[in-house]
Symmetry: C2
Subunit: 462 residues, 2 copies
Amino acid sequence: MRTTAYVSLLVAVASLQILPAVATGAAEQAADIGEQYGEVADRLIDAAMADDRAYERLALLVDEFGPRFSGTENLELALDWILEQMEADGLENVRGEDVMVPRWVRGNESAELIEPRPQNLPMLGLGGSVGTPAAGITADVLVVSSFDELSARSSEAEGKIVLYDVPFTTYGETVQYRGRGAVEAARVGAVASLIRSVTPVSLRSPHTGGMRYADDVPRIPHAALTVEDAQMLHRMQNRGERVVVRLKMEAETLADVPSRNVIAEIVGSELPDEVVVLGGHSDSWDVGQGAMDDGGGCVAAWEAVRLMKDLGLRPRRTVRVALWTNEENGLRGGNAYRDEHLNELDDHVLAIESDSGVFKPSGFGFTGSDAAYEIVRQVGRLLDRIDAGQVTRGGGGADIGPIMALGVPGMGLSVDGSRYFWYHHTEADTIDKLDPDEVARSVAAMAVMAYVVADLPESLPR
Amino acid sequence: MRTTAYVSLLVAVASLQILPAVATGAAEQAADIGEQYGEVADRLIDAAMADDRAYERLALLVDEFGPRFSGTENLELALDWILEQMEADGLENVRGEDVMVPRWVRGNESAELIEPRPQNLPMLGLGGSVGTPAAGITADVLVVSSFDELSARSSEAEGKIVLYDVPFTTYGETVQYRGRGAVEAARVGAVASLIRSVTPVSLRSPHTGGMRYADDVPRIPHAALTVEDAQMLHRMQNRGERVVVRLKMEAETLADVPSRNVIAEIVGSELPDEVVVLGGHSDSWDVGQGAMDDGGGCVAAWEAVRLMKDLGLRPRRTVRVALWTNEENGLRGGNAYRDEHLNELDDHVLAIESDSGVFKPSGFGFTGSDAAYEIVRQVGRLLDRIDAGQVTRGGGGADIGPIMALGVPGMGLSVDGSRYFWYHHTEADTIDKLDPDEVARSVAAMAVMAYVVADLPESLPR
């Protein structure tokens, strides 16, 4: 039965590669994928949705190990445990691949309003920032709403702490002030820089995250205040008051330390050298639990493959879970994976990442050829019964970026993003924000997409 | 014109006092109140809605003085400023009435998870709690979901820290664990007690609040963890893990110190001894800005009377702003007002409090006679154009509770309460959560209700 269908599918897929997809052709092929894989997809979905196992595994990971910041013992202990568990799950070729990672240490830190009145300002230093002298930096604050305003008022910035009070619009737009705020402030003579935390919602919660320096300007300390306090300091400035802040940060970057990318597989039955890799990043920031960023992505990929194993499913190609290290402040894991597997990348048929939180999934975003898009769109149809079948154009993930840049088709799990940035990089990134049913749907989506693409008669075209 | 209408209104009101309200009578009277007061109500509403003055005044209060906890210099400096501003506004009989208030001092405090792994647990001691020894209290934790479960497991509580992990249902129901949690835990031999913060939404934010002891059981330290951590400790216990916490609190209650109820008036033109008192409480907790609890209530009442003054409106009876002190941890202000004005209470025709945040107002909740309810309901109609005219049965406020207990009709401003408890008693009770338009509507509602009731031809019947 499989052989007959195989041939018809082969014809359909082959036709796609020489002709633009037409409505009838696509419909036929969709029918073929549906016929071939409908039953196995249902088994994977049913198994994923049968219990809260993925949620419980995630809760155990994040409760027992806490935040898993690069360079910490927490992360390495968590990786040891994951490797043990993957062995116990019966996955194959379970291993850690060595990666050296940066070690940024926050230390004690504080921001204190001195004028117009004393008050502690909750804050988080930004990852990679230099520290202050032990006595702190005490300076007048210049609040601006944008880089343009800083430019216009550059003559006022000398010797001051620049505070960017930038309302959240999109992450991509607003995060620029976290990324290059210190560089732009130092360029006009500021002695430190502060941002309004990158979030649409705050309960006086500072959000950390990565930042960078440039070689041609001094490295000044860079930290995030809360939305509430950034706005308050702005109001004070608008009232003509002198605003003075004392910033103290012990932050420093120590020598690189060893970490690991975690790998586990189900080796393909017919084409073991061809690989569908799926995963998330094992590290988190040093606050919260990293439950959605990105413990959930790791567990969704891992559980997807564990389900295949438990159901006795072995696809034609290899499915490989990869839990990349050091996404948050270095991307060393994603880069090391590219380097370690450079000779295999031509045989990577697809890379799938989940790094937007395992909220209710709607499908995937895909980056690859039109022919491949037609196929993965049709695979998506198998997930329609759990409303997770929408495959849209464009998508991937930070950790698979390095191999996507070398031609590997990439895909990111798409989820309801309405609350992700409330918790992002804060103490509030904890398991209770996630829903067991939504986590199970994420596992199901990852499992069906990875399994079917790994098992298709023809490799996904580039 | 006013005289003619006065007579017809008098008849309508008099008829209410001897007959049950009937549909036609009520409609007639509503028409009369509408005719008599529609124009002045519109002037008050228009003036309140014309600018952001109330919001700006509130922002100034909470930004410049910060939290205003009973017994602190912050509160007394804020009261000095308010008294000065009320004089400058041209209000009459502006004064502070002396009140001795408790002085609970939080000091340094922390909770640390020791087993199964070390982690800081964000917390806030509860107001009035005793402290721990300097080395802290380190003990095994017993997590329970209710007083009933504590009862059932009372034999396990000896020498432990009891943690109540109680999901938020209503404030009234859930806050019992804050109020009497220490008493019930001490009764079964616990050495300290912790609650899950009383809130439906958390970003790892601890919520403080009042608590009490009983004379017949030891006084043990009582503090709030975050929702997230209470749930995590509960999960750990459910997994069979030993959970150990170290609680350190320097909290202590010092000798009472002086504070003040702030009073300002527009003296009535015909019946100066009859009073409509309206207000909120000037104190807040020692975290956040107390912008909604209850800076906003204070400013709504104050601005309502300031608007009357600016519009040259002097009602027949006296309108009196009262900003009561020490609502949060003692209610000394509300009690002192009752004692100070005991001989005038028969002439207090209405007391109005705003203490639910100055979010979008829907009207008022009223406690008083049926006859009075019919009248204030009709006054409410004057606020229909800003959707703030709904007067419902039942309502008041903590600070006016003592005079309501002696027969003064009471009323509380009703507002959209959907987010109030997100911020309640936390660092996140800040001005940015409020909307200038909604604050203006709250001012308008307070102004119209207070003015019209103070000016009615007949006193509101008891």
